[in-house]
């Protein structure tokens, strides 16, 4: 498509032809919904320069005056070409149409050659459409499950919350929802993630070469961008599934200016299961829900966004006990364009993760609460210094409140309070980064983030004696009280970041990256699977900030005339410091002297990732293979030798395919093969006073491998013929098609079921194939 725009904004025609330098700037948006499009590329053919839209869809590109050709391309969008007669600095918004407009099963067209041409390394974006194509557990498209199919990403198994990136722990991923971090991205122990796929625009995972504007976690950033809401017309999306249903409504408040989005989901497994619950479970409730609400308002130079998320999982039985956990976030953002070259965004967010456990009996009741809250303000600036230089800078300040545990028991003897005092922290960071994108072959990104964390009063700080023997519990030496906002511990760290690209022809490039990351929040967990009741701790006078240095290098190549195939090969090496581990028999919950039970060690992870993706045609999909190793060294564990991390998997092969037969039918499949994760077994046993004493021998850690994991999922989508404004489809899916009992874990059982024998038990969370049918609709 060719559109010619004549921009006669100035009368000084003559000067235009003396090749003066001007700039164009503005937003790239979706024609149908008005949603901004990030990472769209605005390319000037004549000068061979380009600009990429930022997270808010804003771009600015310096051009020579006169007639200029502009190509605009973005993921899932039809590329467009424009002719512009440029006579002054000009604001232009570009509107793009999606490649295909069917729900759920669209053939997703990647940005042409973008993966080769941009400077981002170890970065993957998955659109909402791709997420919906992947056959999912119980037919429910899922953000985190999709992310787990990318190279370098793995999980401990079904039923494990979170995901592991390049040998990092689940707490080392910064998961952002509209810029607010969420601390537990899982519903139902990880079977579903908390993001409603109908409300998600896309997700971007950055595993390496992490830019300076992100910080606070060691391993990755998962940026989940929610839709803003259609500002042109009303639209509704939804689905009825086996386990839950969802609905999304969006539309204009003021056409083209303001819009809203409301999205909700609730599971009804408890409603369906009610007749089948036996006496013990009668009256039980288990459900989860989540709600996303957003409004935004646009003015010429300003955009305002307000968004909120509330989600909970709840389980209760007969009023005897109840547990509940969930996230709440609220974000307010203001984009302001100071001038053609300076874009700014100001954000305030609130994010809370909390859980609550209650027991009630005739004689006693017990109530336990824990949460982490953060309040944060940040400012980000993009300064388009020239067509080749872009400067990003900004600052962020976050105040944390930790409630490690408020626990109260009421019984006949009165009230006993086991509560731990709150903890407080303040994290400040400033960053600056330069991106140099010349028309030549070499481009780079250079950044520095300076982060500071202060562990603050009020409260007691604990000081411990050295351990009697390395690896033993440390006992308290003295306690010192600090007043409100008094600094107990203070850590400042420099976090350099670097990335480069060397272009080798139109279809291939070599990229590299280095980043140092610092993390001041630590998830305290030593169980085989993380549980929702694990507690977050700040860096303190005893817990040092975790640090990681990562080096990564990759070769990117596209194949075929229309860049039909994208491929990459990347290697990485990661060096981790101050990793948290635990003494034998550590007591992690409601323990005032928890820090005495923690050990510190170092880690390393390295690996290679192959990735090839077919982006065009009837058959699309990708193959990803990762060869990796992740291990740690902690004095006092495993005889002071390196041992593999709980989530270490040597081989990971993922094959994801979608075949679109015709307008009605499409088929999807994914196949996953992974090496088993390690687990720890006793080495021996002996008998004392008739009791079996399991013997950990030389304190070995993760000395046994779980069997290999493999699984095939299939799905077929039938698209019902569109009627007026109503579109719909049926998805029939089958998870674990060939009925494999994949081990989540193998574990030991001393005197297994009173047989008198010790046994190794394979626990499979999914022990059979799981079919599901869901119905999805869209009204617009």
């Amino acid at each position: 498509m060719r559109i010619v725009l004549f921009l006669l904004a100035t009368l000084f025609m003559g000067s235009a032809f003396s090749q003066q330098k001007y700039s164009i700037s503005g937003y790239v948006r979706d024609t149908n919904s008005g949603e901004s499009i990030h990472s769209a590329v605005i390319y000037n053919v004549e000068a061979n320069v380009q600009s990429t839209t930022n997270n808010y869809g804003f771009y600015s590109l310096g051009l020579m005056s006169g007639l200029q050709s502009i190509k605009v391309s973005a993921a899932g969008m039809q590329s467009k070409e424009f002719q512009i007669l440029l006579l002054s600095d000009t604001a232009i918004d570009f509107f793009m149409s999606p490649t295909e407009k069917t729900i759920g099963i669209a053939t997703v067209r990647g940005k042409k050659s973008e993966n080769v041409k941009n400077i981002d390394i170890s970065t993957q974006t998955i659109t909402s459409q791709t997420i919906k194509q992947i056959p999912a557990f119980l037919g429910e498209a899922d953000v985190i499950k999709s992310v787990q199919l990318l190279p370098g990403v793995s999980s401990v198994g079904e039923g494990a919350s979170g995901f592991n990136v390049r040998g990092g722990g689940i707490d080392q991923n910064l998961v952002l929802m509209d810029e607010a971090p969420v601390f537990n991205s899982a519903h139902l122990f990880g079977f579903f993630s908390i993001f409603n796929p109908d409300a998600v625009k896309d997700v971007q995972l950055v595993k390496g070469g992490i830019p300076a504007n992100y910080g606070g976690r060691l391993s990755s950033t998962l940026d989940v961008r929610m839709k803003d809401g259609n500002n042109k017309k009303y639209e509704a999306n939804g689905g009825i599934g086996t386990i839950f249903s969802r609905a999304t409504i969006e539309g204009p408040i003021v056409k083209n200016k303001a819009s809203f989005l409301l999205a909700g989901r609730r599971s009804y497994i408890d409603v369906l299961a009610k007749p089948f619950l036996n006496s013990d479970l009668k009256g039980s409730q288990f459900y989860f829900y989540d709600f996303t609400g957003k409004v935004n308002y646009r003015r010429k130079r300003d955009n305002f966004y307000i968004s909120t998320y509330i989600g909970d999982d709840a389980f209760s039985a007969q009023n005897a006990f109840g547990v509940k956990w969930g996230n709440t976030t609220a974000t307010a953002r203001w984009n302001h364009v100071f001038n053609k070259k300076l874009f700014s965004n100001f954000t305030y967010f609130y994010s809370r993760y909390r859980y609550n456990i209650e027991f009630n009996s005739k004689d006693a009741d017990f109530n336990w609460q824990s949460y982490i809250v953060n309040n944060s303000a940040k400012a980000d600036f993009n300064w388009y210094a020239s067509s080749k230089h872009e400067i990003l800078f900004g600052a962020q300040s976050t105040y944390y409140t930790f409630k490690p545990g408020k626990a109260v028991v009421n019984n006949n003897n009165g009230t006993t309070d086991f509560s731990l005092p709150d903890k407080f922290g303040l994290e400040n960071a400033v960053y600056i980064a330069e991106e140099f994108n010349p028309s030549g072959k070499f481009s780079y990104r250079l950044g520095l983030r300076v982060s500071n964390f202060m562990y603050l009063g009020k409260g007691n700080a604990y000081y411990y004696k050295p351990a009697v023997e390395t690896g033993d519990r440390r006992f308290i030496d003295y306690v010192k009280y600090y007043n409100q906002n008094e600094v107990i511990a203070n850590y400042t760290n420099l976090e350099p970041r670097f990335g480069f690209k060397y272009q080798m022809g139109q279809q291939s490039s070599v990229k590299g990256g280095y980043n140092r990351m610092v993390q001041n929040l630590h998830l305290i967990s030593n169980t085989a699977a993380s549980v929702p009741f694990d507690v977050w701790q700040p860096s303190t006078n005893n817990i040092l900030p975790e640090k990681a240095d990562q080096y990564t290098l990759g070769y990117f190549k596209n194949w075929g005339k229309g860049d039909d195939f994208e491929s990459s090969f990347e290697v990485y090496y990661k060096d981790l410091k101050n990793q948290v581990d635990y003494v034998d028999g550590a007591n992690l919950l409601l323990n005032e002297y928890l820090e005495g039970d923690l050990l510190t060690g170092k880690g390393r992870a390295f690996g290679a990732e192959w990735y090839i993706r077919k982006v065009t045609g009837k058959l699309t999909g990708w193959i990803s293979y990762t060869l990796s190793k992740s291990e740690r060294l902690v004095n006092g564990i495993n005889d002071n030798r390196w041992y593999p991390n709980r989530f270490d998997r040597k081989h990971n092969l993922y094959i994801i395919a979608n075949y679109k037969l015709n307008e009605k039918f499409s088929f999807s499949g994914n196949f996953v093969v992974s090496s088993g994760t390690p687990t720890t077994f006793y080495a021996g046993q002996y008998n004392i006073q008739g009791y079996t004493v399991p013997d950990a021998g030389s304190n070995a850690r993760n000395n046994v491998r779980n069997p290999i994991y493999h699984r095939l999922d299939l799905s077929v989508t039938y698209t019902v013929k569109k009627r007026k404004r109503w579109e719909s489809n049926w998805v029939l899916s089958c998870y674990n098609v060939y009925n494999r009992r994949n081990p989540f874990s193998i574990y030991f059982a001393t005197n297994y079921q009173n047989t008198g024998n010790n046994a190794a038990i394979r626990y499979s969370v999914i022990g059979s194939f799981i079919p599901a049918l869901s119905y999805n609709f869209k009204w617009n």
């Binding site: 021996g684 004392i688 008739g690 009992r741 394979r762 059979s768």
Partner: protein
């Protein structure tokens, strides 16, 4: 960890599809350890010290081979009047000492005792003090009428005893039904002063779980004629934690298992050359006991 078990149940409840299978696993056995099981007391009964070797985790529990040919003795060194109690090798790793019926000479409350084991070039030594134990006032028969959930109608036994004054007294309460020791892992009944954990509650009657909960199985009322014997063994604080560790490691496992812990020992190998790894525990108890027969 109770929370852990609840989560586990929750998990199973939600996912009908999950399943467990017993499988074979290859684990390298750690170094074979020499194990000394030395729990002795001042009752006028046969005292046994067992010396065995550790076996692989998946071997049949209880099949630990006995170690013969050792010299085993306990020496009371307190008060400059050294007393030697020799344990005779009676085969299969059992070493036996019978207190002298005529003199009643046995271990003394408040005295330090040294355990000595010489075997295969190794000299194993341990030290323990015999603390005074709490006296049993009485064993009461209690009738439950079945109106409380979880309690079957019938007779049960309650221990009436008070913790000794002063902090840090630890006890192991043992129950015998018709002279058979209730040795299930959930029958382990330990007391730290009045309660089950160190929390400064001192000198009073033992709390409900110790005096009643752990002595009975409320699904099995005691039939008429049943002979119930309860003994309170004084133990050291170290022994208290040692038994506690055995208890928790026997229950560790499952989906939310924590890494196995290395259960310690209070027995040291004095062989200066090539040391064999040792395990086990030396504990010496003062005992009070009472018997009741269910009417």
């Amino acid at each position: 960890m109770k929370i852990k078990n609840i989560i586990y149940l929750l998990f199973i409840a939600i996912l009908g599809s999950s399943c467990e299978d017993v499988i074979d696993v290859d684990v390298d056995q750690g170094p074979e350890k020499l194990i000394v099981d030395a729990f002795v007391n001042n009752l006028p009964d046969k005292q046994v010290i067992r010396i065995t070797k550790s076996i692989p985790y998946f071997a049949k529990p209880g099949s630990e081979p006995g170690v013969e040919g050792a010299t085993v003795a306990i020496v009371d060194t307190t008060g400059g009047n050294t007393k030697l109690f020799l344990f005779a090798d009676s085969g299969k790793g059992n070493y036996i000492f019978h207190p002298d019926a005529s003199t009643g000479d046995t271990f003394t409350v408040g005295h330090n005792h040294i355990l000595l084991v010489v075997q295969g070039g190794d000299t194993l030594v341990s030290l323990a003090t015999m603390n005074k134990t709490a006296l049993i006032d009485s064993l009461q028969i209690k009738y439950e009428d079945g109106s409380t959930i979880g309690f079957k109608k019938g007779n049960y036994v309650e221990l009436r005893a008070k913790d000794l004054p002063g902090y840090g007294n630890t006890y192991w309460v043992k129950t015998f039904v018709n002279d058979t020791f209730k040795n299930g892992i959930f029958d382990i009944n330990l007391a730290y002063d009045m309660t089950q954990t160190p929390n400064n509650q001192d000198g009073g009657e033992f709390i409900w779980p110790i005096k009643y909960g752990a002595i009975n199985n409320f699904q099995e009322p005691k039939p008429t004629g049943t002979k119930i014997r309860v003994e309170i063994h004084s133990i050291s604080v170290e022994t208290f934690y040692y038994i506690n560790q055995i208890f928790s490691e026997n229950q560790n496992g499952g989906l939310f298992a924590t890494p196995p812990i290395n259960i310690g020992t209070n027995i040291f190998n004095f062989n200066s050359k090539k040391k064999r790894a040792v395990g086990g525990f030396f504990s010496i108890s003062d005992v009070s006991r009472k018997v009741v027969v269910i009417p």
